[in-house]
Symmetry: C2
Amino acid sequence: MVTARRFKAIGVVHSPFKKAADIPMEMNADPRGFEGTESEIALFADFEPGLKDIDGFSHLIVVFAFHVSEDGRMLVKPPFETELRGVFATRSPHRPNPIGVTVVKLLGRTGPILRVSGLDAVEGTPVLDIKPYTQKDQKTDIRTGWIK
Amino acid sequence: MVTARRFKAIGVVHSPFKKAADIPMEMNADPRGFEGTESEIALFADFEPGLKDIDGFSHLIVVFAFHVSEDGRMLVKPPFETELRGVFATRSPHRPNPIGVTVVKLLGRTGPILRVSGLDAVEGTPVLDIKPYTQKDQKTDIRTGWIK
């Protein structure tokens, strides 16, 4: 019933944050906390041809592996929260499948290297996929539960 | 260098679309094409506790496996397009890691079952993760390249 699937890294993140402890808790709690953070996504050479046409998009969805997290928790305590929350109602890195999804701004590209801002991933994070952010992803009139 | 990772299904999609061929091409080309589509995400019992607090969110990010796609292509032809596009500049299911990311509207929950609209995934699609859609994911003033 629970089938496992194998995914491979297509590239790696180069971040000003060398490890999770380098990220101030305030940044994780603020929805705009990472807007000023510039990182690089260095794709492995085999995947560079897949970046054709990417320059036309202002924002990208980066799918990555939380490679230093512990997985499997059902309840987690978000930064500055006192109550335990269901993991699927949070963006915690500690989840049944340690997959992160972050929308970033594309600043520029040099061959297989994308320069982006807004990426909340530490140095060495394996990148699994890159997708264009489109109208489909723009939702207005949202409710965000326990998040102020 | 390219490390592989294993991910497990946390649940499964029940969709009105029994197979990919049941989805009209127009729906895939239209950013609002799936807004009227209602599906269920049935989590496996072990993961139900992780849904605590989910009801407060109007929209969710569903991460799933494109389980019937062929992977590994660097250039793909989107619906109604004549030009080949870099796979990372498209939402094609045929990608190095067959991972889909779709923002859905949460209509309701009954135990481990979420009723959602807007999910472009066929019957039996393995679900890998569910995340709340928050302010972080709302981008305005976007450019979407080759997509009209």
